[in-house]
């Protein structure tokens, strides 16, 4: 596992002026006790994951009968756990790989769709003057109040049976005639749509906060030169908003990759569409005692978010800060 993490970017940058003095004071204040406490907590926080990693490489009998810390006395390494999880072996028919690919196929579009739509909406609220913009903004922010759980059943009904007000169809009934099977069943489409819907409030909120701070002169100069909203959005606002967009893209990708609730509601458990989290949950349910397999599966599932996290940490942190640091 990588520990060579990039330096954190803390926004805004610390003041330049009295840097030297402050730095000296900080060094003096840095007591050995503080270092000790931080070191202990860091170790405590890391040990469980290390245990997972070690267990996933131990032979089945060792993993099930001895603690992973005995590995250091009796080091035996095998790759057969990973081989079994990947091919399915005697446990499941398909192995983990179909689910692994499903996770990518779900998470990448489910990060891009809401981002594009949210940046458009954020631009409209920030830079297309219209009455009630502020109310739409607060309304969208307040929509975070709706827990996912509230939307699950109605959305499922919409995907399966369609919606209509009286006789006017709002969302078509996509059942194949004469069968009870929706056309959307077994596709990623319900997952993409659901994740997009649920991501929009936060995405619009964060991107709007960023875009609203772009310099007004820039927009006005472009407008004087005859550029319309579509041109300004594509040529000025989008390129300048890349940092905010990148932050949210990473955030949303990790969120979707790690999601279980939306996944098991809209995808069921089939290897055609279900993501890796849903496979892991069922693996733990049915083969919880096979520690060597569940740990190998879990490691395959968490390696992608960990790589994304460690390589793009600074964007991720910036996104978090934009969402929660005020003032």
């Amino acid at each position: 596992m990588s520990v060579e993490a990039p330096e954190f970017v803390i926004l805004p940058e610390p003041e330049e002026g009295n840097h030297g003095i402050k730095e000296a004071a900080r060094r003096k204040l840095s007591s050995p006790w503080a270092v000790l406490v931080v070191a202990i907590i860091t170790i405590l926080w890391t040990i469980p994951t290390v245990g997972l990693l070690i267990t996933s490489f131990r032979p089945a009998a060792d993993a099930q009968n001895t603690g992973w810390w005995t590995f250091f006395r009796n080091p035996a390494v095998t790759f057969s756990n990973y081989a079994e999880v990947i091919t399915g072996g005697s446990t499941t028919a398909t192995g983990i790989m179909p689910y692994f690919f499903n996770s990518f196929a779900i998470a990448i579009p489910a990060a891009i769709f809401p981002l594009v739509l949210a940046s458009m909406a954020a631009y409209a609220i920030a830079w297309v003057p219209f009455r009630g913009a502020i109310w739409i903004f607060f309304g969208i922010f307040a929509l975070q109040v709706v827990p996912l759980q509230m939307a699950l059943l109605p959305l499922l009904q919409m995907f399966n049976l369609g919606w209509s007000i009286g006789d006017i169809p709002i969302f078509p009934d996509l059942n194949k005639p004469g069968s009870n099977q929706s056309l959307l069943a077994g596709t990623y489409i319900p997952l993409w749509i659901a994740h997009t819907m649920f991501a929009l409030p936060l995405a619009i909120f964060l991107l709007h906060n960023f875009m609203a701070q772009l310099p007004r002169d820039l927009m006005e100069a472009a407008r004087v030169d005859g550029a319309g909203h579509f041109l300004i959005f594509r040529k000025i606002v989008l390129p300048l908003s890349i940092p905010a967009i990148a932050s949210f893209a990473i955030f949303q990708f990790l969120w979707v990759w790690n999601d279980l609730l939306v996944a098991i509601t809209f995808a069921g458990g089939t290897p055609n569409v279900a993501p890796i989290t849903s496979y892991l949950a069922s693996l733990k349910g049915s083969y919880g005692a096979q520690l060597h397999l569940t740990t190998a599966g879990a490691f395959i599932a968490i390696i992608v978010p960990l790589i994304v996290f460690f390589s793009l940490q600074r964007f991720f942190v910036r996104g978090l800060l934009a969402g929660s640091v005020k003032g």
């Binding site: 803390i10 469980p48 091919t87 196929a105 579009p109 949950a281």
Partner: protein, 324 residues
């Protein structure tokens, strides 16, 4: 190899979906850009704001009302039964409500307190990034992954056998002869599940609070130090008031996350052994028991729980807007 080849069409369909989506947008943009003069503003509004508004209306607003209405219907959503579903929650599900309440209070407070401590300690250190990254790392791990990681810590074996679970082993090294089966150990198993949530959320609290502490103007701290404030007094009179707003945002953000907590309980115990919480019970009622009335009512209970937290955040936001 075969497994990877089988996966490629899936990535292909995702790429195709993205391509279609972007192509569609380009066409809409092309048409939208042809409107000039007085129609330009309205055309831009419809194109830019329309899709997002339609999606949140269909995905959040309408479902919210349908769920509220559905919570007054019976199990099959056919007959109106008034508030019977809520009566059922408060009569028979008190344990679930109490557990959820414990979660909402304990996990966010513990995460924030520990995160604040770490942020303060790290603020005084020069080499902080490795520790920060490692403590922050669990945020990138899914709740399901975390459950498997912590399943290893809480794993139970007969005391006479060699131990596999780390917690049991540590407790035995400390002299306890018969450690309990942690996951079945009521009511403490609830707290053991909360530890997982704290493990995940501390990094978030630490990073955000650490940024807030660094944002405190240096002259404020120096002035206080010149006046003789040190240690605890500096912390309680200067640091805490200066980061109060951020502290509350962190607390409410974690609270909202905890209220909807579902994955940890589902994968660790599936709500058995006295660990059920509202979010998981909602799922069980709707999709396992097929009692949609109960499921809807539980979702509304979650909704009512989140409302005050969001209202608080909106009020804060408006205040901040007013200042700008």
């Amino acid at each position: 190899m075969e497994e990877i080849l089988n996966g490629l069409p899936k990535l292909g369909s995702a790429a195709a979906a993205i391509a279609i989506f972007l192509a569609f947008l380009l066409i809409v943009f092309f048409i939208g850009a042809r409107f000039r003069g007085r129609l330009q503003g309205p055309a831009a509004l419809i194109v830019f704001l329309g899709p997002a508004l339609i999606l949140v209306t269909m995905g959040l607003i309408v479902p919210a009302f349908r769920t509220i209405y559905g919570s007054t219907l019976d199990a099959n959503q056919e007959e109106f039964i008034g508030l019977d579903n809520y009566a059922w929650i408060f009569d028979t599900q008190q344990g679930v409500l109490i557990n959820t309440l414990l979660w909402i209070v304990i996990a966010p407070v513990a995460s924030t307190a520990l995160g604040l401590t770490l942020a303060l300690l790290l603020d005084r250190m020069r080499r902080e990034s490795v520790a920060k990254s490692l403590i922050f790392m669990p945020m990138a791990i899914s709740f399901v992954g975390a459950s498997i990681i912590w399943g290893l810590v809480y794993e139970y074996r007969e005391p006479s056998r060699e131990q596999v679970g780390l917690l049991s082993q540590v407790v035995m090294w400390l002299g306890v002869e018969e450690p309990p089966n942690w996951i079945l150990w009521q009511p403490f198993n609830n707290y053991l599940l909360m530890v997982i949530m704290v493990w995940i959320q501390v990094g978030f609290a630490m990073v955000v609070l650490s940024a807030a502490i660094k944002n405190i103007p240096a002259d404020v701290v120096e002035a206080a130090e010149l006046d003789g404030a040190t240690g605890w007094r500096l912390f309680s009179r200067v640091t805490i008031p200066m980061i109060r707003a951020t502290l509350i945002v962190v607390l409410t953000t974690i609270m909202i996350a905890v209220l909807k907590i579902f994955d940890i309980v589902r994968t660790m115990t599936n709500g058995n052994f006295g660990t059920q919480v509202v979010a998981n019970e909602m799922y069980a009622q709707s999709f396992v028991q097929f009692n949609e009335g109960h499921g809807n009512a539980l979702a509304v209970v979650l909704f009512i729980g989140v409302i005050p937290l969001i209202i608080y955040n909106v009020v804060q936001l408006r205040k901040e807007r007013a200042i700008r």
